[in-house]
């Protein structure tokens, strides 16, 4: 089944959804504040002959008129990182304080973890974890090029991630950018058809376990951002609904730079906690991005 067929009841404009899903994504980079400023990065790209356009919602998010942003000097200097627009959103949902310790439980290849490192500044620490050692190599090379000096990289199964080795009993914030069916990556050559029940059935327990582990390791008052790049409510609202039922956390309202659509409370026969409306869904035709889902939870006990 085509992606847009499975979700046509959720979108206002099925034809626009389908047309956007078929268009390739523009080339977007994220400016790396560890090494430069948006103004200097733009100037460096422009003086090398590239046209750049800054996204209204985020001055670090810029479109560059090249198919190979990796073969530019600003990239080689670690001033910019190829990271699609919607993928730059979840890290901006946190409110960091000096000295915060933040875990990215499924961090590879590191776009969001290195973004968190930059947002934290050198007073904070990001623990960038991934279960897949091969993908960690990509994360490490990105972190090195971007000059990330405040990261600790670990290779553990995020579902059983332990803080035992570290000097903290709980962390301030956790990002769970969960492994998912990836329907939202259709514009960059990801799966071209909707996720099937077998695939979803295999992913949901992992997603729930990662989110539960994230909540358990976060101090009261700290926050957890859950995100996926899929439209499937089973991997999104249903996962949130399951952890809300455990107690100990709530979904907080967010005001992201890209508004998106609210989370849904009904899908087929399933009904979800009304609080999942505070999550955000992103369809390709809304903001000309990839597909995405995110929510911010606050840990209460």
């Amino acid at each position: 089944m085509e992606v847009w067929e499975r979700y046509e009841s959720l979108v206002d404009d099925r034809d626009a959804f389908r047309a956007a899903a078929r268009r390739p994504l523009p080339t977007i980079v994220r400016v790396n504040p560890i090494k430069t400023t948006p103004a200097r990065a733009r100037a460096a790209l422009e003086s090398d002959g590239y046209a750049v356009t800054t996204r209204n919602w985020n001055e670090y998010c810029i479109e560059v008129d090249t198919d190979t942003p990796g073969r530019t000097w600003p990239y080689q200097h670690g001033w910019v990182h190829g990271q699609e627009e919607i993928s730059q959103l979840p890290a901006t949902l946190f409110s960091f304080s000096p000295g915060d310790v933040v875990v990215d439980l499924a961090a590879a290849p590191g776009g969001k973890a290195t973004q968190i490192a930059g947002l934290l500044g050198t007073e904070g620490t990001v623990i960038a974890n991934d279960v897949n050692l091969g993908r960690l190599t990509a994360l490490r090379s990105n972190a090195d090029r971007l000059g990330v000096s405040n990261a600790i990289v670990t290779n553990r199964d995020g579902r059983q991630f332990s803080l035992k080795r570290f000097d903290v009993d709980a962390v301030d914030h956790v990002l769970v950018d969960a492994p998912c069916s990836g329907e939202g990556t259709i514009r960059k050559g990801g799966p071209q058809s909707a996720a099937d029940q077998q695939m979803i059935g295999g992913l949901v327990p992992v997603q729930e376990a990662l989110l539960r582990r994230a909540i358990a390791m976060t101090r009261p008052g700290g926050t957890v951002v859950y995100s996926t790049c899929t439209f499937a409510p089973e991997e999104n609202e249903r996962v949130l609904d399951a952890v809300l039922a455990d107690g100990g956390c709530s979904i907080v309202p967010i005001d992201p730079g890209l508004p998106g659509d609210p989370g849904i409370t009904a899908w087929k026969e399933a009904r979800y906690d009304p609080a999942v409306r505070r999550a955000r869904r992103y369809y390709p035709h809304r903001h000309d991005t990839g597909g995405f889902f995110c929510a911010k939870l606050q840990v209460t006990e």
């Binding site: 990796g70 530019t72 000097w73 972190a143 000096s149």
Partner: protein, 168 residues
């Protein structure tokens, strides 16, 4: 005590505090960058230094109790194994702006050659040994990588995985 290659160990503050033979001290690392590149010790004020792998020194912005067994801790800064210490490309991109000596500014064409991993004949004001190569970016000289300057030749020591052919 001997060296354990699977963990990060904090560098001793001075050589007097050294427990593992051959391990550099924090004071020696700071002195090296001050002597060779004129970097102020303040550059590394909020940085802790660690060793993982013999002679591989890492810089981490933050504090942590030692030892720590993880995949990576901060950024690989320096190799102290062997007679001549060698700063890393990523480390100098990160901290090299503080350098005032033994920095060679290259024009774009020479930067292209350097970044492809090619050696080049060059008259430069630099002491023999490792130098920081700077590229002009956004109107300023910005550290790009590390070269070995000997007898009028700038040898590129850009790691193979970082080499790239950048178009004009």
């Amino acid at each position: 005590m001997s060296h354990d290659g699977s963990q990060y160990d904090r560098l001793p503050a001075t050589s007097a505090d050294r427990e593992v033979d051959g391990r550099a001290s924090r004071a020696e690392v700071i002195e090296y960058f001050a002597n060779r590149f004129g970097m102020s010790p303040a550059t590394f004020e909020s940085v802790t230094f660690w060793e993982k792998g013999r002679g591989k020194v890492w810089a981490f912005h933050g504090e942590h109790s030692s030892p720590l067994t993880v995949e990576a801790l901060g950024i690989h800064l320096l190799r102290t194994h062997g007679r001549h210490w060698k700063p890393t490309t990523d480390g100098m991109q990160c901290f090299g702006r503080a350098a005032t000596e033994n920095v060679i500014r290259l024009d774009r064409r020479c930067c292209q050659r350097f970044w492809r991993g090619e050696d080049q004949l060059l008259e430069a004001t630099a002491d023999p040994g490792y130098v920081i190569v700077a590229n002009e970016l956004g109107g300023r000289a910005e550290p790009l990588g590390v070269g070995l300057y000997l007898h009028g030749t700038l040898e590129s020591v850009v790691p193979k995985g970082r080499r790239e052919s950048i178009p004009d």
